[in-house]
Amino acid sequence: MDSESGSADARTGSGAASAAGTGAGAGADAGTEAEAPGLRASLEAILLVADEPVPTVVLAQVLERPSSEVAAELAGMAAGYAAEGRGFDLREVAGGWRFYTREDCAPVVERFVTDGQEVRLTQAALETLAVVAYRQPVSRARVSAVRGVNCDGVLRTLVLRGLVADAGTDAETGAILYRTTSYFLERLGLPSLDDLPDLAPFLPADIEDIADENARP
């Protein structure tokens, strides 16, 4: 496996070589400073949770490093993953970087995706879906405002799953609006939107707010 250190990125190679011992050490400059993760680790962490390609400049901003340094590191990481034969792949697509599954792993991933039974929605997705269902047509910003957290990623998932769809743009603001689909009704077992139960009886009387008001944003 040492063979890959002959590749484009010396840093990845040396990181790999030193990996056995230390733990946090392998990143770009982690050596002496104990606490902060290195550039590579930081990029890996961010890209792991990024649900769209992230432009190099955005990464550079978040990490407060020069774009050129970040760009070089990203290229090095991509080469490193390829060299190590990882199942994931870092690609620059549509002006940004994102983790993808490696192409030759596609058959395995397909088997996994189709293998599962029904997929359960996450709690965040259900709540977002509920807001769209009862407030449609509704903009992203509005949904996020209601839930108190940014819902862009969740909305994208709901669109991808066919539960929510584009409903044109707001005449005033130009914001994209969302609505629920007939597939949503089908999954909920309702003939039409008119059959969504009224909210009034469910407005919390005996429900307690279990969220801490002092919670972090």
Partner: protein, 272 residues
């Protein structure tokens, strides 16, 4: 312990849950309050200075009774009544525990302490939960929409909720977040003050000497008034103005006037 390392890392975020705080407003239940009173006096839970804790507990209830919901108040009453019994038992000359009533009191004490110990245990693991949640929240899971080429292969979505539950969730999600709490609910509940109730009871008891609790509260306008009456009686009891007897557990509770015949002022009460 499992959370020891995580706990320290999450400590800043969970400080509010970690220890008892003697801001009286934070108590949610009677066990909460009792534990806090006990820990405030740095007492071993098994050797509580009962009379002191009882007094403070009752004092706290009478201050706040009008601000709670009925459920909470009833629970408080159960604990208060138990505490009062215990306090009474403690006043008995020691060594006289042949009496069945005394034994019952001892049992009640053990039971109350057992429950308190149990509650304290859950409170402690709840603090561990909070620390673990805070630590877990520092690790973000990968939660990214599938690459489009795979997304179309996905099987059906399972909502896992029926229309009614979905509506309930929507109501909860859409509910405006409560503004920082200044509860004004109690302002709109019928204003029944404990001291007012006490005055009324004193009048009735002076007249008849002895009456059942049922009789005393026969004309109560609602359960709130009954609760207030009971609290008033506890106060009167604390001031040696009445005595209680109850032949069987959960049986009729009789109240006997033992106070002076003069005008009784309830100095500790404020009308609220």
């Amino acid at each position: 312990m499992i959370a020891s390392t995580d706990a320290s890392q999450g400590a800043d975020k969970t400080a509010g849950c970690a220890g008892f705080q003697v801001h009286l407003d934070v108590f949610e239940g009677p066990f909460d309050l009792l534990l806090a009173l006990i820990s405030k006096h740095k007492l071993d839970i098994t050797e509580v200075a009962l009379s002191q804790v009882t007094d403070e507990f009752i004092g706290y209830i009478s201050e706040r009774a009008d601000g709670w919901d009925l459920d909470q108040v009833s629970y408080f009453l159960v604990v208060a009544a138990t505490l009062l019994d215990l306090k009474a038992a403690r006043l008995l000359p020691s060594g006289e525990v042949e009496d069945e009533e005394d034994l019952a009191l001892l049992e009640a004490r053990d039971l109350l302490f057992a429950r308190l110990l149990q509650y304290r245990a859950y409170k402690e693991v709840a603090a561990i939960f909070a620390a673990r949640m805070a630590a877990a929240a520092r690790r973000f899971p990968r939660r990214v929409p599938l690459e489009p080429c795979f997304a179309q292969l996905l099987p059906e979505v399972l909502l896992g909720l029926g229309p009614a539950e979905f509506a309930r969730l929507a109501a909860l999600t859409l509910m405006p977040k409560a503004p920082p709490k200044v509860s004004t609910e109690h302002i709109h509940t019928p204003a029944i003050s404990v001291s007012e109730q006490a005055r009324k009871l004193v009048g009735m008891l002076r007249e008849c000497g002895r009456a059942s609790f049922r009789q005393l509260t026969a004309d109560a306008a609602g359960s709130y008034e009954i609760v207030a009456s009971f609290l008033a009686l506890l106060d009167l009891y604390a001031d040696d103005a009445v005595s209680f007897d109850q032949v069987t557990a959960l049986g009729e509770l009789y109240v006997t006037w033992t106070g002076q015949t003069g005008n009784v002022e309830r100095p500790t009460e404020s009308d609220d």
